[in-house]
Symmetry: C2
Subunit: 432 residues, 2 copies
């Protein structure tokens, strides 16, 4: 271990606490963790030959663990929070979401993305899988905040310039280490067969996985069956979008055959339990998919439908809703849900170096405060996190080796108050 | 307004913020709030003739509102948090809850209650409706913490001394201003007809309402139908326990006739959505009950089944689960849920002077931090609280005019660390 970082970056030491690791199997150690620039360089017992750290963080018994990955979201939709509640999905989209989204400028997407990132950080989320509009402004807000994001293409019938997808794919995968881009369409019900086939040709050309909103509502499934005689997963597979993998957001209404298809093709089912409740879409069959071997991850969806960007809420719901839906309190246990939130999301997004606290992994991590009443007594730390954890437990959030959030304060290049001010200016403008 | 408090107690002023009031109808003002001892003495515009306050709290735009009431809980069950997850209700009770509860001492109930109260305060809860064991130790922990509680009798077949209920009723209703006591039985399935009839005679003697666990699971309802040919609400009404009002905890499985009975007799249905999910008990028909005019309140249930004591979680679930259960995203709107949590709970518990921010009401209130990402932008504050609020937003919790929690710190007469230490000592002892 060098006395100083090879890269000249700041080295940070986390010590005197616990470390949660996922390999081999989820377990908790008393290891300390060293980061160097954007990378974790050491996880193990305290050592004599310590380098000169820029900062040594005394955990005081608190827990270092991999950050949560928000594997399906629309970050800038925070402007719709509490603006359009208590409506079914079709009316919510046509009467509130689409008309208001038409008013979004590049500047607004930048400002609103800034706000959404603050909320991710306060919840211990270190990366997002985002599908939305005006990706240049969106990417810049992430870069300026120091936050990691994977942009998902959202081809649909409203796009004027279909070829823009390929340009974006090439541009955003070369832009910045914090930004990457995956292929996708918005959904079957918003995308013509011709455009789906075009996306399949891109997936083939670049050997890339594809993602989309899939079987979110009963009406979507029924519509697809009427149009094509196939369920959405069957259709998307038939068109060739899943040739190199990928998966679906929501997957609320999956038939037995759909589940078998997802397992066989190693596709990701990315669940959004809070949004599915609030829009009355349903409860995804996570336990059935888990038993069938389907790969699972968790997302918040946008704040317009959720209305929070809070991984603790999602984890609790993912587990608890399975218990009531299956009539079986042992369905979808806590350690599996934690793995979905930290590891599954990263793998679905293509962030295979953000899955664990281990040397060589990116330094995307969170420190949870265990000295709070909801983490006491210490019967079982993992169950405490999944079944009782909340944002009050997020002491620190680090992305790519930089502390972006600590003890309620944000370190993202501008003040939270300024970000709130601009977001409120925008909503006043569109409501007038 | 006197220059000094008549009672010689500390006067506190909250200013420069917002105030949420429930009468007439839920609304938000820019009023300031003055407390004097345990009472709210002024709510209105800033005034020239200010008394000498002991403390003036600059809200900086934050919100004062009535505290949440946890209308069904078993506080000391925090020791079972994460100890016995992922089991159905019957096995959970017989294999984990009852054997471990047998090990509870008076000292343990005191210590564990202290811990549970910390968690209430961190969630903005200012009073609990508690049904558990060793009520002397329980009441003392509340008094020593400065917390308000209503104890509910829990008569059942395991009680050796049936007449103790009447002694407790007389003792705890005279003990301390923070403590009161209501009649009740544990549940139909744990209480013989003879004992239910005894409780009905007490309700008659003192003209008191009665509460109990009611129609929590399908199995409970089926068992009652088999034993008596009546649903639990019908039976309890027939036995006379509801002669002077009262209500049921859970009310998960209510027939149309049960709902009509509750509406007609003005009984309280106290819902516990998180616990009902986690134990796979079901989803209570809150929207149907609301439409029928049934009085509604919310509780966390104990941390053994929930596993958190977090009113934000309960409010979100109460609303969101109705939307998915009814297939209608407009079911149970946010303002109604907030009223259940703040006003309904207080009325169910007999705390009619803890329902609002108004002169003459007890000074049981909470300050919510609105300068957090989840409360932005400010489209609709009430929906922000119910659909996106979390414990991170609880800036201050006051009970009976005393600040017991502020910016993460507890002021309950002893340190949180000491309370955690004793709780952990107890669980180590019972596990060895």
């Amino acid at each position: 271990m060098p006395a100083r970082s090879k890269k000249g970056n700041a080295m940070i030491r986390f010590y005197n606490g616990k470390t949660l690791r996922f390999t081999p199997g989820v377990h908790i150690t008393s290891d300390e963790v060293w980061t160097d620039g954007g990378v974790i360089v050491y996880v193990g017992a305290p050592r004599e030959d310590k380098p000169a750290f820029e900062r040594e963080i005394d955990l005081g018994g608190d827990l270092v663990m991999p950050g949560f990955k928000d594997a399906h979201t629309h970050t800038a939709m925070v402007f719709l929070r509490s603006l359009a509640d208590d409506m079914p999905l079709d009316r919510w989209l046509s009467e509130q979401v689409w008309p208001n989204e038409a008013k979004l400028t590049e500047e607004a997407v930048y400002d609103l993305t800034r706000l959404g990132i603050l909320e991710y950080l306060s919840s211990g989320i270190t990366a997002s899988f985002d599908m939305y509009v005006k990706n240049d402004a969106y990417a810049q807000a992430n870069i300026d905040s120091g936050f990691r994001t994977v942009i998902c293409a959202a081809l649909n019938n409203f796009d004027a310039d279909v070829e823009n997808i390929e340009r974006e794919y090439l541009k955003f995968n070369a832009l910045h280490p914090l930004v990457s881009y995956r292929l996708g369409i918005h959904a079957e019900y918003t995308t013509s067969m011709e455009r789906m086939e075009y996306m399949a040709s891109l997936a083939e050309k670049y050997r890339e996985p594809c993602f989309l909103h899939l079987s979110e509502t009963r009406a979507e499934v029924d519509g697809c069956l009427e149009r094509y005689g196939l369920t959405p997963p069957q259709l998307i597979d038939r068109v060739g979008l899943f040739r190199y993998g990928g998966g679906g957001f929501h997957c609320t209404h999956m038939s037995g055959e759909d589940v078998a298809l997802f397992a066989e093709k190693k596709l990701w089912a990315i669940t959004n339990p809070a949004s599915n409740l609030k829009l009355a879409s349903g409860i995804a069959p996570l336990e059935k998919m888990r038993r069938a071997g389907v790969k699972l991850a968790i997302g918040t969806d946008g704040a317009g439908s959720n209305n929070a960007l809070d991984m603790f809420r999602e984890m609790y719901l993912a587990a608890a809703l399975q218990k009531v839906a299956e009539g079986d309190a042992s369905a979808l246990p806590a350690d599996r849900v934690l793995e979905m939130a930290c590891v599954g999301g990263a793998e679905a997004m293509g962030l295979s170096d953000c899955t664990d606290i281990a040397p060589g992994m990116r330094a995307d991590l969170v420190v949870l405060d265990l000295q709070r009443p909801n983490m006491q007594p210490e019967n079982n730390l993992i169950k405490n996190i999944v079944y009782a954890g909340s944002k009050e437990n997020v002491r620190l959030t680090m992305v790519e080796g930089r502390v972006l959030y600590e003890r309620g304060e944000f370190h993202v290049g501008e003040s939270a108050d300024e970000i709130y001010r601009r977001a409120n200016n925008f909503i006043r403008k569109i409501r007038d």
